[in-house]
């Protein structure tokens, strides 16, 4: 077998920007020892209005587990003060699942024998029309990482089609250079989410065996390049369960925090995905990240970053999601299909992971109303 490429070395076509954020996050991650945090530190963090990174670290620690109820009360209060009772709704549309990466936990990985497909412009139009007819006004477009099968022009064209039907177009596609983000912004996208998966570079290298995604720093700086390319906001996530979830959640929150400090106008968002089973591997699971730990992460994110949007994924079940929006999450997906297409007719390509909440847009809408919360279909105007 050929030796694997160095995961910390950029490839020639990858833009390098001047930034020290990666070093800052990795240093803080290395210095964070969750088991060393005390209950007293957690209590003090819960009394502060403006939390510092060390307070956030304490809230993610095992010492905070017995104080989860207190965290939930505080987080609910902070969330309502910031967002009122508004909960944003959106849905993802997977455009293509072709992928040149080999990431061992992902259903789209290039070694997994699944049905591959990509939507052509006519199919994208039809899918988006079908989604818009459900009442949604925000769409998230996703692809696998294949510069051959889903290049920038293809994604840009999808953004232009999406802008005709939706007020807000977000992207969750492979990282690109600043000029690439500027192009996609021009095409109508204004929010970019990139999951770093794990912030432990060594662990990252054992999970991302081949393909451009293997290059850790290029992925890390995607959000910063997106902001430099003119995007309004950026989303962050660690895929909880790949490595020490406390350290990964700490790193993702700190990453978002540092980016907003550097670019104060940037809107930031966090997602809280846990590992899910995939086609041809039902053994993949989030290990030590049970619902209590996941909720602890969501609450800690909320208290550390009161102004960030927090999205709750369909990887979680109905009961957990409906409670998460009461306590800290501010955004929820609905009517989700994670295969290629699947809104207008049967999906033509296989899915990325198994979802746990298959409710329609109307069902989620009604569930939000049923909790005295207000569904918000549109929360931005692109001018």
């Amino acid at each position: 077998m050929a030796p694997k490429s160095d995961h910390m070395t950029y490839r020639p076509d990858m833009e390098i920007i001047a930034s020290t954020m990666l070093d800052q996050v990795l240093q803080a991650r290395n210095a964070y020892h969750p088991e060393a945090c005390t209950a007293d530190q957690v209590r003090r963090a819960l009394q502060k209005n403006h939390l510092r990174p060390e307070d956030f670290a304490a809230l993610l620690a095992p010492a905070a587990a017995p104080l989860l109820e207190a965290m939930a009360h505080r987080s609910r209060q902070v969330t309502r003060r910031q967002f009122g009772n508004a909960i944003q709704i959106f849905t993802p549309l997977y455009l293509a699942n072709h992928c040149e990466n080999h990431c061992i936990y992902c259903g789209f990985n290039s070694h997994n024998p699944i049905q591959r497909a990509r939507l052509d412009p006519g199919e994208i139009e039809a899918e988006l029309q079908a989604i818009a007819a459900t009442g949604l006004r925000e769409i998230l477009l996703l692809t696998g990482e294949s510069r051959a099968m889903s290049d920038l022009d293809y994604i840009g064209q999808a953004c232009r089609i999406a802008r005709r039907h939706f007020k807000v177009v977000g992207l969750e596609v492979y990282p690109v250079n600043v000029a690439g983000y500027a192009h996609l912004h021009e095409c109508g996208a204004d929010y970019v989410t990139v999951f770093q998966e794990t912030y432990n570079p060594d662990r990252y290298a054992t999970l991302h065996l081949a393909g451009p995604k293997r290059v850790f720093p290029y992925r890390f700086y995607a959000q910063e390049r997106a902001i430099l390319g003119g995007m309004r906001g950026v989303g962050f996530a660690a895929l909880l369960g790949l490595d020490d979830f406390r350290k990964d959640a700490f790193s993702a929150g700190l990453h978002a925090y540092l980016l907003q400090r550097k670019y104060p106008h940037a809107e930031i968002a966090l997602s809280c995905p846990r590992l899910r089973p995939i086609i041809n591997n039902d053994q993949i699971n989030p290990k030590d990240v049970h619902e209590a730990q996941l909720l602890q992460c969501i609450l800690a994110y909320r208290l550390f970053l009161p102004f960030a949007n927090i999205t709750i994924s369909t990887r979680e079940g109905e009961l957990f999601r409906d409670n998460a929006i009461k306590l800290g999450a501010s955004k929820i997906s609905a009517g989700v299909s994670v295969g290629i297409g699947g809104h207008q007719e049967k999906a033509k390509g296989d899915e990325q992971f198994e979802i746990a909440d298959g409710r329609s847009v109307q069902e989620v809408y009604d569930a939000i109303l049923g909790q005295d919360l207000q569904p918000v279909m549109s929360d931005h105007v692109y001018v």
């Binding site: 910031q82 009122g84 006004r137 007020k167 104060p264 569904p375 931005h380 105007v381």
Partner: protein, 258 residues
């Protein structure tokens, strides 16, 4: 009959001095909140308008209430101007509350960009109400640029902290000929009352009402507090006695030449 005490904005008169926000509570409650608040002006974020769609805020605002669309989401004067024009095209009228914010954490306004947007929109015939940080020079420039009122923040949006910027707001009230409407941070009716006693022309509140246990009841409380503060301001507050009693040997007791 005594002349009615009105808030005048761009030639339009309002008997209510309570501008109600609409963004943080259930759409179903807007009508009741407006009624209890006695509000004649309601703000709404243009970004929340979902024409012909679900949860469209415009469908929930009672007829006869003046809309005050805001430009939230704008990061530059140019974006604020485009949002304001869009609001007018969508039939929201000529009022606009300019919000230009380049700080996603505290949502503090950018006075320089707000001034630019004020100038452009006032020339286009909008009735411009700029949300701003209470800085006298910026406020004077906004007045000069054609603002119909000035809307300084009392404290950061959503903080419910009250009049953290009290001294600076008092300066604006004393020095400007325009109405000064306190826009953000008012968390309790007593704070609204205090601002009105100081001479504020009106109060805009959203979070304080939206996060109350009983939204229509809190809208009532704010209406009463604002009315009380206004009446007190017009009545003229009595002087506050300095510490200690009046001196028994007056400092001016030496004056003889009558």
């Amino acid at each position: 009959m005594p002349q009615q005490d009105c808030l005048v904005l761009g030639g339009h008169s309002f008997t209510s001095r309570f501008i109600l926000g609409s963004g943080k509570y259930s759409l179903d409650l807007i009508e009741a909140a407006v009624a209890k608040a006695g509000a004649q002006i309601i703000t709404l974020a243009l970004r929340r308008i979902n024409q012909d769609g679900q949860a469209n805020i415009l469908d929930y605002i009672p007829k006869g209430v003046t809309l005050l669309p805001n430009t939230s989401g704008a990061r530059t004067a140019a974006e604020a101007v485009r949002i304001a024009r869009l609001a007018r095209e969508m039939g929201c009228g000529d009022f606009v509350k300019i919000e230009v914010i380049r700080d996603s954490k505290y949502l503090l306004p950018d006075n320089a960009e707000t001034l630019k947007a004020t100038e452009i929109l006032a020339k286009e015939g909008f009735i411009v109400l700029p949300y701003m940080y209470p800085d006298l020079t910026a406020a004077r420039d906004m007045a000069q640029a054609g603002a119909a009122a000035i809307m300084p923040l009392g404290a950061p949006i959503g903080s419910n902290k009250g009049l953290s910027t009290k001294d600076f707001i008092k300066i604006l009230i004393d020095e400007l000929d325009l109405p000064v409407i306190i826009d953000a941070g008012i968390g309790r009716p007593s704070q609204a009352c205090e601002a009105m006693e100081m001479g504020a022309a009106g109060i805009m509140a959203n979070t304080a009402i939206a996060t109350a246990g009983d939204i229509p009841a809190m809208a009532t409380a704010f209406r009463q507090a604002i009315e009380a503060g206004r009446t007190a301001c017009l009545a003229g507050l009595g002087p506050i006695q300095a510490t200690g009693a009046a001196a028994s040997s007056p400092l001016t007791g030496f004056l003889r030449d009558e």
